[in-house]
Symmetry: C2
Subunit: 510 residues, 2 copies
């Protein structure tokens, strides 16, 4: 069967991924090291993610703010004292003016050197913590529940579009609480928001759980993640939520007077998801014809392509399509008005059809003269593109049926994508009882993609380092310890042989 | 009459402005030079502005994208060659790592110096133009209509919250067209979008017109603005739209093959508004009790404050307020569901009431035990806070009447704020026929706030410089030449004495 992309997932997953990004017009190289241009279709998906997640962040009582892009160097000095493992790969602003270099070019003006360098935020804990120390005086000021949508910069040596870029877009939630219990509750509440959002909106089944000690955010008491499984069986950490205890409050002096009049350190949390999620959507839902966008996050859910031939009948086709677009937009699907586009760009209908297939619009409708005459439309569903005989499955149906059923069809497509993701996750997590089997399993990652589910004794310190090294030799990492485990199964830890305390997921990851 | 702020507009307009920002919890100093923290109420207003303006930008056919924060130095070298008056006050990234300085602190790592410095975008013409040169090959690719919501940085020496900050948030539209006519049409279309948005949503009457040559964006063929009048009579340029001709296309090689197969340079435009608009909203609508937020952009349009006294009846008051909140949220005002908040923070009711008055929530409702018993609510309208006798105008009314009338009340408040802005603008633009009268007029800016409307001959070059200098001596600038002038009035130019070609507005400005 011939497909729209020139490279298949099976032949070369990494090249396929890049091909989807290019062919679906999601993003492109910008000419700036490690930074991408997010094109309208890619950014439209991000806008949908923002809208749907932002609604959930607000519904759980958080308010959005905006903090500065630049953070003075001294803020990081304070953090570096308190936080082990503090990362230092950051973009540093040292000058505030350009000047002619005398050779026809420009250079940073030596007379405009900053007294204190400014760091482009890699995350905003330090600057937001400093604000919290001003805002929080009494128990009455708590909890502080805020969120920020922003760009952040981390100087990555090896970048990959959406998955790891120097600059990326994200939201970062930051909260302060009167007690550790409340802060833990918040940490888990936002993890659950991410899990539900990922499944409901992205159609991506994820495993929510706690990261092992070695994968904690520097300075965190505990870090939780949602882990998604890509079609190549690798894991993608798609969101994290951190319980920071009083560590950051100590470094940043976030203190409050409790109802007894005593001063206490606040307990803080932070949590974030980023444009990385789009990379996950590609690798979970894409196929050899391009992307398949879940209807909930599709900028356009239904695209109408008129089949025009520079004939007098063209006008009536366009008219038919216009009224169809209006009828569709008046429908409601997944709780919102249907997003229907009439594509009138000057290109051949077949080019446009395949363009929308590659972009992954959930429903593509073609309308030709015969459809107009018969009151019909030709409908392609992106989740079932081909018939059994390998031909494109374009179904002619009465226009009224399409409109009446569009909400259900979009809901079906959304459900189908999630079901496929769930099925893949279930089928490709294998319980394993000893380390030798882990080695054997991952020795053939084509036959055995996915993760293993193993018992461990949750070692710490040097004992954990040994585990991490043994896994690293197999290119494996611990993904997380899934939440909600029943502790009935107390066999030996596959690493230490000691009695296990929980099960963890182990796999290869992006 | 006593007011909620400690400083009045009349006593010290600049101090009053700062006081509104602080007392309404809009923004605060961040500890980072020239950068502010936008607090939830301020950011909520920005989110409303974004939502309403973004709808309009999309309705006129534009798509959102995202371009990199960093722009390589060489891009600016290209622009500096082509663009006279190119500003060089920018934040420059020179290093990509921090390292211990050996004195217990951190410093930029000398071994991690960038080969080519990166500039934090002051605007994105260069990087977007470079993308356009890739995207545009044929007339079929035109027009390209894109927009970006982003943060930008300009190294300002003197900053003022919202009005002029080192980092600010904005949208920047960039378009490319096959002809100059189309590009001019686009430039004026977006100016009109800004004008309509400003009046409909911000309640700020503005004058749309063309900026004089000396105020053009460097490299633009023509620059248009909307100018708003603050309560102190000064002008605020609240949005600009630029017709760039082929100047940027030439520098960035944006060429297309026309239908005859010949290569042509595209004509481009750019247009933007920023968080500066919030400064304008404050100075147009604020009063001595704080901000008054137009309902269209109010994060919360109706705030319910329960009057609790730690008594058993508190529960029934809260219950009454909860159901009221739901009833209000089920109403639709200004085309959207009513945004109603029940304020349950632990603070005194009077403190909360005055907090919301200072923030400028359009309607504040207080509910005490007596209100619950009588099925009433006590209602404060922010646009008419006091009765004639100087007392707070809190009207008791049946709850059902409030709910039934809330949409109309919010529409009334929106209309009242716009009407006040319109009235101020009309009353404070004075036609003047000679330069001596201009001097006399502005010699007493307390008696004569506002702008003068004068005839001029539209001099260019050195003759224009002379005009600009004469005005500068009076701290005046030309705001713009309003659009839609009928050229019936051909008296002499007040500057040159030559026959005038149009009328311009002159005033003091932020």
């Amino acid at each position: 069967m011939k497909h729209a992309l020139s490279v298949t997932r099976e032949a070369d997953f990494a090249a396929w991924y890049q091909s989807v990004i290019t062919e679906a017009d999601l993003a492109e190289e910008s000419g700036v090291r490690g930074c991408m241009v997010i094109r309208p279709w890619g950014y439209g998906i991000w806008e949908r993610i923002q809208r749907l997640l932002d609604d959930r962040i607000k519904a759980t009582g958080h308010e959005n703010c905006y903090f500065p892009l630049f953070i003075p160097l001294s803020y990081f000095e304070k953090e570096a004292e308190h936080v082990e493992g503090f990362a230092k790969e950051m973009a540093v602003v040292t000058h505030h003016r350009l000047v002619a270099d005398g050779k026809g070019g420009l250079m940073p003006d030596p007379t405009a050197k900053l007294e204190e360098p400014l760091v482009v935020r890699p995350t905003s804990e330090t600057v937001i913590g400093t604000a919290f120390s001003r805002w929080v005086q009494s128990w009455r000021d708590l909890p502080v529940l805020i969120n920020q949508w922003a760009n952040v910069v981390r100087w990555e040596m090896r970048t990959r579009m959406f998955l790891r870029t120097t600059e990326f877009l994200w939201q970062e939630g930051h909260t302060a609480h009167a007690s550790a219990d409340e802060a833990v509750e918040e940490t888990l509440r936002m993890l659950e928001v991410y899990r539900e959002f990922s499944e409901t909106c992205l159609g991506v089944h994820v495993i929510a759980g706690e990261k092992p000690e070695n994968e904690r955010f520097p300075g965190a008491v505990s870090t939780y993640s949602i882990e998604a499984m890509m079609q190549d069986g690798k894991a993608l950490q798609a969101g994290t939520s951190h319980f920071l205890g009083t560590n950051f409050a100590h470094a940043q002096n976030i203190k409050f007077q409790n109802s007894a009049g005593e001063f206490e350190l606040a307990n803080t949390t932070s949590w974030g998801v980023s444009t990385r999620m789009i990379g996950g959507v590609i690798m979970v839902h894409g196929d050899d014809d391009g992307l398949r966008v879940p209807p909930a996050i599709a900028p356009w859910q239904v695209v109408i392509v008129p089949m025009l031939r520079d004939q007098p009948e063209d006008a009536s086709i366009v008219e038919y399509c216009r009224s169809l677009q209006k009828e569709l937009a008046a429908q409601s699907a997944l709780g919102e008005p249907v997003r229907a586009l009439l594509d009138l760009k000057s290109a051949k209908a077949a080019t446009k059809r395949w363009g929308w297939v590659k972009k992954g619009a959930p429903i593509v409708i073609e309308v030709g003269g015969r459809d107009v005459a018969g009151g019909n439309v030709s409908v392609i569903r992106r989740d079932r593109l081909y018939r059994e005989d390998g031909k494109l499955d374009s179904a002619v149906m009465p226009r009224g049926d399409l409109v009446a059923g569009v909400a259900q069809t979009l809901a079906d497509i959304q459900a189908t994508l999630l079901a496929q993701s769930t099925e893949r996750l279930r089928a490709q997590i294998v319980p394993v009882d000893d380390f030798a089997t882990v080695e054997a399993h991952f020795a053939d990652s084509v036959k055995n993609p996915g993760w293993v589910d193993v018992r461990w004794s949750k070692p710490t310190g040097a004992a954990l380092d040994t585990v991490v090294e043994r896994l690293k030799a197999l290119k494996l990492t611990i993904r997380n310890a899934p939440l909600g485990q029943t502790h009935g199964d107390h066999g030996p830890c596959i690493f230490t042989g000691e009695p296990a305390v929980e099960r963890i997921l182990v796999g290869r990851a992006y």
